[in-house]
């Protein structure tokens, strides 16, 4: 009864706070759409300056690059310096020479890809491998690859902030003290918060996931229900962590200070960036990051189509995270009331 009343109260407060509601539901969609437009395309083809190349090579290059013909090396170099070109390809003393602009690795890669495609064309047909994909598909954009992690990240980030601030505000406005002057148990408080925020966290997770998959067309082969499950667990972790850390903050501003300490490192370790090159002991830090497990599971489901069995370990870890944070929350409330 108490948990239900607390859940109802949180829902009512939330629904009447239109701006926060918008932050929870509209902001992630907005950012996701931005990310989609930035990373969703395969990028514009590289621009390569050709100096004295035979026609066959130029037309071969044109399959995957914009080719501009130049009369002399110096002219082409001029434009390369002015960043109008990504690379210059020339025949110098009979051998092809490629000069890359080089300030943007992704552009350089695109140039190298175009040039290597050219080399493949000239090789004998018999040696051409047949290319197929175990997971994903040809022309999968980087949005498809790190999109699943972004979905998890948004759920985590916004719920962490909102729950942290909401819990803190209860403390600073005295309503927590007032609430604890009633016979409610500490675990009922935490449970009520879990349920109240859980409702919105789940709705948010569903909205983000559906938007990404059905509107933005993010690559997805697995079950949407599993995505929702993982997202829910991730947001519950964020919720319990946020409320727990709010016990160590004295103001909303201090909650914001947790963002660079708690949220940003998680983003780094979540799988948005490859971590293989990192020193092994530092790499172990990933095991402490809830977002790593969430991102791993979401990727597994969306890209590799994994079923429950494939992500059970991630799910188990997230459950353990949520439960232990929740338990710590119950303990931290002792600071407010001894029993």
């Amino acid at each position: 009864m108490r948990v239900r009343a607390l859940t109802l109260r949180i829902c009512r407060q939330f629904i009447r706070d239109k701006r926060t509601l918008a932050l929870l539901f509209v902001a992630p969609l907005f950012i996701l759409t931005l990310v989609y437009f930035i990373f969703g395309g395969s990028g514009s083809p590289p621009k390569i300056g050709a100096v004295g190349l035979p026609n066959a090579i130029v037309s071969g290059l044109e399959a995957s690059a914009d080719v501009v013909d130049y009369g002399s090396w110096d002219e082409a170099l001029e434009d390369l310096r002015g960043q109008d070109l990504d690379a210059v390809l020339a025949l110098r003393s009979g051998k092809p020479a490629l000069l890359l602009e080089g300030s943007d690795p992704s552009r350089s890669r695109a140039v190298l890809l175009a040039v290597s495609a050219l080399q493949r064309q000239s090789a004998s047909q018999a040696l051409q491998p047949e290319i197929s994909y175990l997971h994903g598909k040809a022309g999968m954009s980087s949005f498809d690859s790190f999109g699943p992690v972004m979905i998890g990240f948004f759920s985590f980030f916004f719920v962490f902030l909102l729950a942290g601030v909401a819990f803190l505000r209860e403390r600073t406005t005295g309503t927590m003290e007032r609430l604890l002057a009633t016979p409610i148990r500490r675990q009922e408080v935490v449970l009520g918060y879990l349920c109240g925020f859980g409702v919105f966290a789940l709705a948010q997770a569903a909205l983000i996931a559906c938007f990404a998959v059905y509107v933005l067309g993010m690559y997805m082969t697995g079950s949407i229900w599993l995505i929702l499950l993982v997202n829910l667990l991730l947001t519950l972790t964020a919720l319990t962590l946020g409320t727990l850390l709010s016990a160590f903050a004295g103001s909303e501003f201090q909650i914001i200070q947790f963002v660079p300490i708690v949220i940003v490192p998680q983003a780094f370790f979540s799988g948005l960036f490859p971590l293989d090159g990192m020193s092994p002991w530092l790499h172990k830090l990933t095991y402490l990051m809830p977002l790593y497990y969430g991102g791993d599971a979401l990727r597994g489901i969306m890209i590799r189509g994994e079923g429950f069995g494939g992500i059970a370990a991630d799910i188990a870890v997230l459950v353990v995270f949520s439960l232990s944070f929740a338990a710590l929350n119950v303990v931290a409330l002792r600071k407010q009331r001894a029993i």
């Binding site: 109802l8 109260r9 706070d17 005295g174 003290e177 002057a181 016979p183 009331r337």
Partner: protein, 259 residues
């Protein structure tokens, strides 16, 4: 002094009618914040059905003492027993109605929703809740504003709603921290008559106040100064003891000199 406790209300955990013990029994209670001693060695007994007023200058430790009794805060030393039970105790909290000095209300919710929420915390069943809700709202004169969001309430309206919440579950012990601050004289009279009526029905009331005519209406008052109870007695006793004609004078005379 002990009054007969009105039992048999059958609410929540049931009335704790161990009428033999005083409603509040403090023994050598102390509390300090950051190494600064705020309450020192407070001994106090308040009988069942008594209306007890706590008076003292600002910062003297009234709210601190009240929170200790309400079981929200923990003393560093000493023993607190309330309604025959050791504090803190969850079961005890169902028999206490607490009103904090600063209003702690949910601004997004209406007055009625605030009351419903706290009613649920005390596990009041639906029919009783509806009936108590009406009664509490009319006691504080908020019946016509029940549907308004609390964020749009005036200061006095919030104060009254806080009082209504404390009264909602008909607790055996009412602990009110400056209940009438910011409430207009007409309403104050009616709230006081409600408090007196509650006392007649056996409710023990502990309140703090800065208003001398309110202190005059208490059965007994305690003067607190810099964390020490300097005098306890009925208004008449305190006036006689200090040779003052008004409680205000007694307050000023007894406040500092003793000890």
């Amino acid at each position: 002094m002990t009054r007969i406790v009105n039992s048999g209300m059958g609410d929540g955990g049931g009335r704790m009618s161990d009428a033999g013990e005083p409603a509040i029994d403090l023994e050598r209670v102390g509390r300090s914040f950051d190494g600064r001693s705020i309450l020192k060695d407070v001994n106090l007994r308040i009988g069942r059905g008594e209306l007890f007023g706590l008076l003292g200058p600002s910062g003297s430790g009234k709210s601190t003492l009240i929170k200790l009794i309400a079981g929200i805060d923990k003393p560093e030393g000493g023993r607190i027993r309330v309604l025959g039970r050791q504090v803190p105790s969850l079961a005890l909290l169902s028999n206490i109605g607490y009103m904090a000095q600063s209003d702690a209300l949910y601004g997004e919710l209406s007055a009625k929703e605030n009351l419903q929420f706290f009613g649920a915390m005390f596990k009041l069943p639906g029919a009783r809740l509806a009936e108590r809700l009406e009664a509490a709202l009319s006691t504080v004169g908020l019946s016509s504003d029940a549907g308004k969001p609390v964020a749009r309430f005036s200061g006095g309206m919030k104060r009254r709603l806080s009082l209504a919440i404390a009264l909602l579950h008909e607790p055996e012990l009412l602990i009110l921290d400056e209940p009438t601050v910011g409430i207009d004289p007409v309403l104050r009279v009616s709230i006081w008559s409600s408090l007196l009526a509650l006392r007649e029905r056996g409710t023990t009331i502990l309140l703090t106040t800065h208003v001398m005519d309110e202190a005059d209406r208490c059965d007994r008052i305690g003067l607190i100064r810099e964390g020490t109870l300097t005098a306890v007695g009925s208004p008449a006793e305190l006036k006689a003891e200090s040779g003052a004609s008004t409680i205000e004078e007694a307050f000023i005379r007894l406040g500092g000199e003793k000890r």
